[in-house]
């Protein structure tokens, strides 16, 4: 139930710059995901939020007030760790009730609240077991319950599903999202799994080398990425180099690519003639007759995958487009084909250094 803002956060380890000015914001009740590969600084940011790391610069505020001088044990945040960090010498119930015990809550209230939250995460009846006596998925839920029972202002989750197998991951993912929405807790979620990020989040911060490359809704991240890195990370993508970039008003451009010209939307602010790339998601492309397409090319690969025919088409400028066609499309290697694009799904991005 709190707005949390991170402004220009910096963290340096000896000679390695882990955070180079990270800025993002979570409105009350939002789940914000930090998405990126290992080493991009997402966990570091989370640990700064939790108070386990002290940043070298920048600001973190909750409801407008800085929390940087508050020690970790007084921030009132719930943390769910990747390896769950359950206390091995305490039972499930004791683990969950630990925070309440520290607050000197009465025994009856403690028991009630612990049982309540255990029912919420569907752990009923397991209270007397030790952590090593329950399954991985259950351990994960204990970790969740332990954080939630304290009704924290903010929930911080550090790749909580990374150690679960694929099937469990789905289940627990929805549990986490449902609980978060029902209780209205603001949450920060760290993951390297883009489908997780897209499915669960209100806002996504795609991180790259200690900075936020783009901070937007999942839809915007997917359909209107600000650079190749973001587009690449969030799904399958084709990139075509473009020339003769000519802006026509805010975010509209005409360009030349692979032998044709196009009018399309793109990242606002690209200068005329600047280097740029065309983002074409596979679902934006369709095979047609050679004369009917925006582009023309030769099929260099075609693989029957059962549910689709996966093709690679090489264009006159030697760029390659990948797309999925209906499984029974009559094309094979060497054919000349046309590719039609749904213009509303084409997107122009500036070429940015990786």
């Amino acid at each position: 139930m709190a707005t949390v803002e991170v402004r220009d956060l910096r963290k340096r380890y000896h000679n390695f710059l882990a955070l180079d000015g990270v800025s993002l914001k979570a409105e009350s009740g939002q789940l914000v995901t930090l998405l990126g590969p290992s080493g991009c600084g997402k966990s570091t940011t989370l640990r700064c939020l939790a108070g386990f790391l002290e940043p070298n610069g920048g600001e973190i505020t909750v409801e407008g007030e800085s929390i940087l001088s508050t020690p970790a044990n007084r921030r009132g945040f719930g943390v769910v760790f990747q390896n769950y960090a359950l206390f091995p010498h305490m039972t499930v119930a004791e683990n969950i009730g630990y925070g309440l015990k520290l607050q000197k809550v009465s025994k009856s209230e403690l028991t009630t609240r612990v049982n309540e939250v255990m029912d919420l995460v569907r752990l009923g009846g397991l209270g007397d077991r030790l952590p090593r006596e329950v399954s991985g998925g259950q351990q994960q839920r204990v970790a969740l319950a332990r954080a939630l029972v304290l009704k924290p202002k903010l929930l911080l989750l550090d790749e909580p599903l990374a150690n679960l197998d694929a099937r469990l991951r789905d289940e627990v993912r929805w549990l986490i999202r449902d609980l978060q929405q029902q209780s209205g807790i603001t949450a920060f979620y760290v993951t390297h799994d883009q489908s997780e990020a897209m499915a669960m989040s209100d806002m996504v911060a795609v991180m790259k080398a200690g900075r936020v490359a783009q901070f937007a809704t999942p839809r915007e991240i997917y359909q209107k990425p600000t650079e190749r890195y973001v587009a690449d990370f969030t799904g399958e993508a084709n990139f075509l180099p473009c020339t003769d970039v000519t802006p026509h008003g805010e975010g509209h451009y005409s360009i030349a690519a692979a032998g044709t010209t196009l009018d399309l939307d793109g990242v606002p602010g690209i200068a005329a003639g600047a280097p740029a790339e065309l983002l074409l998601r596979p679902e934006a492309l369709e095979l047609t007759a050679p004369e009917a397409g925006t582009f023309r090319g030769i099929v260099t690969k075609s693989a029957f995958l059962g549910s689709a025919l996966h093709c690679e088409i090489t264009l006159p400028d030697d760029s390659v487009l990948k797309l999925s066609a209906e499984p029974n499309t009559p094309v094979s290697k060497g054919d000349t084909v046309g590719i039609a694009i749904d213009r509303s799904h084409a997107w122009l991005m500036p070429e940015v250094a990786p």
């Binding site: 044990n73 007084r74 943390v79 760790f81 390896n83 960090a85 630990y98 925070g99 332990r146 304290l150």
Partner: protein, 270 residues
Amino acid sequence: MSGATSAFSHQGPVNIAFGAVIVLLYVFLMAPLVMIVGASFTGGLLIDFPPQGLSLKWYFEFFERRDLVDGLLMSLRIGAITAVVTMTVAMMAALAGQVLSGRLSGWFQLGMTLPLLVPELLTAVGLLFFLYKIELGKTVVGLQMGHILMSFPYAYVSIAAAMRQVPASLEEASASLGATGWQTFRLVILPLVMPGLAMGGIFAFINSFDLYTISLLLKPLGGNTLPLALFDFLTYEFKPTAAAAATLSILLSILGVAIVQKLVGLQRAF
């Protein structure tokens, strides 16, 4: 199966000869201890193995000897204090050492185990002069400090090893749930390192009990630890009473070994 030897477990006569050598070596290792225990039960008057008849009389004789019993009591007293002090100091040091990383951590470990790496003779000589200078020469306090110093590494190594098994995320989790440093220590860390802590105390006690050279140089006038008393006894009298005293020491170490095995398992401890 260890890698070094698994490929050769099926070759006949060489193995038998090797086996015999091994048995001989183990006999070599255990012989002196067995001799002592056996000799302590002799019914005769001399120290000998095998003993002539069995009797407990030399144990009674031991408890009659003022000098030996006083030595035993002093050793037990000093050992107990050593154990308590080293466990506390080592626990604190291990907590501190846990947050160090990389090279600093290695240096710290080296520093904490310094009394193990430097020969006892050197440390004892140095302490002799030093304690004299600060007016603690030939006092029980001085002797106690010497024991604490020499036994500290044993406590530290055990406790530090146990600390290393506690993942940092447990401390972070505890903090995120609102615990102060002391609460995290009391409720999370201490229960988890308790076996290592106990083992450290045991090793420290046993080590202190066995110390000789440092006790020789630092001892107060008229006071003796059991090893000192035993040495003096042996220089003048070679009677089975000494064997009884020594057997007590052996019993102590066997007890120690058993407890360590129970707590942590010998393989992990060594």
